[in-house]
């Protein structure tokens, strides 16, 4: 109970007063991305551990091992790409975005983007990171808090309105 009480130290008025935009900022987006990265890595590590344990029981030739490792790396990349493309194009929210209350949407239609646009956004993501993360820092000065990959994919990231808990009739 003490923990629960100590968590709610940020009154809604303070958040409302501090927040200046409906578009999601750098900190929220970074935390959401970190959560997604954690989910992706945890799943990848768990699967790798299970597969490695399975193969540790049998003797595998060196050539086959190389092929398996390569396949594993490719599958891990597909998993990471598929994760983002699927969630961005399905609901506009990855699990990390959901926790942070963010949504990726088309800058004009304000709807979740299609698969191709999601893939383009993901491909453009490294471009934001390459020049000393300058593409990400654009969020801080852009009126709609867009990073470089948002501009390329014509997307925006917004805060999702908070859902009020429903009261059940007793």
């Amino acid at each position: 109970m003490t923990v629960v009480r100590s968590l709610s130290v940020m009154p809604t008025e303070v958040v409302a007063a501090e927040r200046t935009s409906a578009y999601a900022g750098l900190a929220s987006r970074t935390v959401a991305f970190a959560l997604d990265a954690a989910v992706i890595n945890l799943v990848a590590w768990a699967v790798t551990a299970i597969v490695a344990l399975g193969f540790s029981l049998i003797t595998v030739p060196e050539e086959v091992r190389t092929v398996l490792v390569t396949t594993g790396v490719v599958l891990a990349a597909v998993w990471a790409v598929g994760y983002f493309v699927f969630f961005w194009s399905a609901t506009g929210q990855t699990p990390g975005d959901r926790v942070l209350g963010l949504r990726i949407q088309d800058e004009r239609m304000e709807q979740p983007i299609r698969g191709r646009r999601a893939a383009l956004r993901l491909l453009a993501l490294p471009l934001s990171a390459l020049p000393l993360c300058a593409g990400f820092l654009m969020i801080l000065v852009d009126d709609r808090r867009r990073a470089l990959h948002d501009r390329i994919a014509r997307t925006t990231v917004v805060y999702v309105p908070r859902e009020r808990p429903r009261r059940t009739a007793r």
């Binding site: 958040v15 501090e18 200046t20 935009s21 409906a22 900190a27 942070l100 801080l140 917004v158 309105p161």
Partner: protein, 114 residues
């Protein structure tokens, strides 16, 4: 007659002495210890514990508490990160001497309610 006898001060004094006597105290302690020792061995108790543990009321309460706590953590994280978002942006705008977007920027209608 019994009531009248119990209400007499002598009877009350006698009962108090009996209750406070070392023999009664030792007997009570022995009985309680025996019950405590026997309780875990009784099948009925574990049946009752199992019944309570799987009862919908208890499982619902546990689930709601877990979900409620996770929601609260997420909500707090959300609030804090939004405050940090605004502060970072203000700092960056001060650094680059840019004006803040008026009225919270070009807020999309769907998100303007947030």
């Amino acid at each position: 007659m019994v009531v009248a006898a119990l209400e007499r001060p002598e009877t009350e004094l006698m009962l108090t002495r009996i209750a406070g006597s070392p023999v009664v105290e030792a007997t009570v302690i022995q009985v309680v210890e025996e019950i405590i020792a026997r309780l875990p061995q009784g099948e009925a108790l574990w049946g009752l514990v199992d019944e309570v543990a799987v009862s919908p009321a208890v499982t619902d309460a546990i689930r709601q508490q877990g979900v409620g706590f996770a929601d609260q953590v997420a909500e707090d994280l959300r609030d804090r990160s939004q405050v940090v978002d605004a502060r970072l942006e203000r700092a960056a705008r001060r650094l680059f001497r840019r004006r803040s977007p008026e009225g919270g920027g070009n807020a999309p209608p769907a998100a303007a309610a947030t």
